[in-house]
Amino acid sequence: MTGLQILPLMLMGLTDILRHKLRSFLTMLGVVFGVGSVVAMLAVGEGASQQALDAIRKLGSQNIILSSVKPPEAGAEGVQRSSRMNNYGLLYADETRILETVPGVVQTVPARFMRKQGILGSQMLELRVVGTTARWFEVVSRPLLAGRLLTPRDEVGRATVCVLTESGARKLLAGRHTIGQTLRLGSTFFRVVGIVKNAEGTGGMQTPDRDTDVYIPMKTGIERFGEIDMQMSASSRSMERVELSQIIVEMRATTDVEPGMQAIEAMLRRFHKKEDYRIDVPLALLREAEATKRRFNGVLGSIAAISLLVGGIGIMNIMLASVTERTQEIGIRRAIGARRRHIVLQFLVETCVLSVGGGIIGLVLGSVIPLLITHLAGMPTVIRPYSLILAFSISAGIGIVFGLYPARRAAQLDPVEALRRD
């Protein structure tokens, strides 16, 4: 007996798809919508999740904030203080070491704080002068209201330019028109180049800016005002030298924050004899980010489960119906002499082609719908690879299983049984 080869049987499966055009189309449509809806719904859910997490990140959930702290003085209260120079706080070297040794760091932003009298026109105001770099505005994201932000060029050129916060500007009666005017800080004149919005609400420790900040390039600040801060009070005069008042460390993700903090703490403890620093992490934000992520994972899980269930049932029904409808045909083929596995192979080819073909079209559809939603409704959508893989593999899998199962069952019947069905 020569017997039937596999290839012609597969070809028979393929031509059969074309013979049953309407049925093939409807079956495929079931898979297309099954896959498409899962991908699209997950994209909408992921978009919402992303948006919520972004909002939290904007508040600084990924930032670790190191601050210089005056260490508690050993010995009696201020007897010899007047003649002493007090050296403490974060060092330039600390920033370098963090960048080089702590894993998960995206960037660091140094800052030096000074209190200065600011004079703009006829207005006078005590301001916090923040000497920092252009990167400050990347880490502490505040919308620009007018003018421009500090740039790396300002720093290289030691430019005497400054950026005001909105409320500081308002107190100085400055506005849009103030851009380009000069603000006097101490004895130095700075050109106002921009105004940024304040943090919403009261600045917590995750928002290191203050109401009345004025930002200047750090190097300009050191050059003009020096590194020594002199403070005079009624009874004493103290001199302090602090290299950096603050270092903001931006981590790659919220999950890097706590390990990062521990690594930084270990490093600082090694290089600082006194406890002249403080490390703050936005714990509340971290918890909120975690809770949000958990909540959205629940939401996304439910979306995936429900849409896969609904899509899967749809695919299952149409496959079961279209193949069960062909039980008699299977009986005829068996009566003529087809072996069980000839039947199974033919239907395997058919259901695979329909399921995989429908699945691929479904992926395309499922990717286009979110784009349309974003475009038309302005809702953010994010398509993640896992959703494509999940939707495709489960839907195509269900299609193949429930296409093959009735064919296999019909092939297992005695041919008379299969012939009797119609």
């Binding site: 005829i332 083929r333 009566a335 003529i336 002499g337 087809a338 008379v416 012939l419």
Partner: protein, 244 residues
């Protein structure tokens, strides 16, 4: 399978039955009740016979033919096929037996409606693994033989009942089977068409093929050379060249 033409030419050598049933029982469970569609049937068929299985509706004719055609298995009893016990044969072996040795003609034709006439006729050849060219050649000859060669590209739904049965017969002949099983082949046809189909079957028998045919009509049974009369799943009467 041994040549059926030889058997017809040398009746003395053909005393051994090709098909032998021994006390065959087929029992169906319908709800609480058991129905004996066949209640102990024994007989043998020699190669080259033309046997009519007769009886009232529900007497077990189709059940018997399906068992003879290996489409169904007996509940009890033995069925010997060329000296082999069918109960010992695997499903694949039974499929191969149908593929190479049997041709079926049904009352309701059982053509595949999505396939053309040519594709329906070619189906056994396809499962035998013949090339497309060989299939095509055989289909043309068979269609001409039964007179449907001008309908090859049509679907079964576009044919008359008589034409459909001709297509079914062409398909049954495609594998050149020594045994043809027909279950009320004229049951859905008018008298004139019935006669044409019967003369076709008579010719096939004259060529040496064994024909097993179910019918409840006397005049149709008249074409056969032997008859078995069934009632309630038992053999009532045997006429002609049949071993009991």
């Amino acid at each position: 399978m041994s040549g059926t033409a030889d058997a017809a030419a040398a009746p003395a050598a053909a005393t051994a039955a090709v098909l032998q049933l021994v006390d065959v029982v087929k029992r169906y469970q319908v709800g609480q009740e058991q129905v004996n569609a066949l209640a102990g049937v024994s007989f043998g068929v020699r190669a080259g016979s033309f046997l009519a299985i007769m009886g009232a509706s529900g007497s077990g004719k189709s059940t018997l033919l399906n068992i003879l055609g290996c489409l169904d298995r007996p509940t009890a009893g033995e069925y010997w096929l060329n000296g082999v016990d069918v109960a010992q044969m695997s499903d694949d072996a039974l499929s191969d037996h149908r593929l190479h040795n049997l041709g079926f003609v049904f009352q309701s034709f059982h053509l595949i409606s999505q396939l053309t006439v040519a594709e329906n006729i070619a189906l056994p050849l396809f499962y035998q693994g013949l090339s497309r060219e060989e299939q095509h050649e055989r289909v043309l000859r068979l269609a001409a033989e039964v007179g449907v060669d001008n309908r090859l590209r049509h679907r079964p739904a576009e044919l008359s009942g008589g034409q459909r049965q001709r297509v079914a017969i062409a398909r049954a002949l495609a594998n050149n089977p020594p045994v043809i099983l027909a279950d009320e082949p004229t049951g859905n046809l008018d008298t004139a068409t019935s006669r044409q189909i019967m003369s076709l079957l008579t010719t096939l028998n004259a060529e040496g093929r064994t024909i097993l045919m179910v019918t409840h009509e006397e005049d149709i049974a008249g074409f056969a050379k032997a008859r078995i009369q069934l009632r309630d799943g038992r053999i009532l009467q045997i006429d002609g060249d049949i071993q009991s």
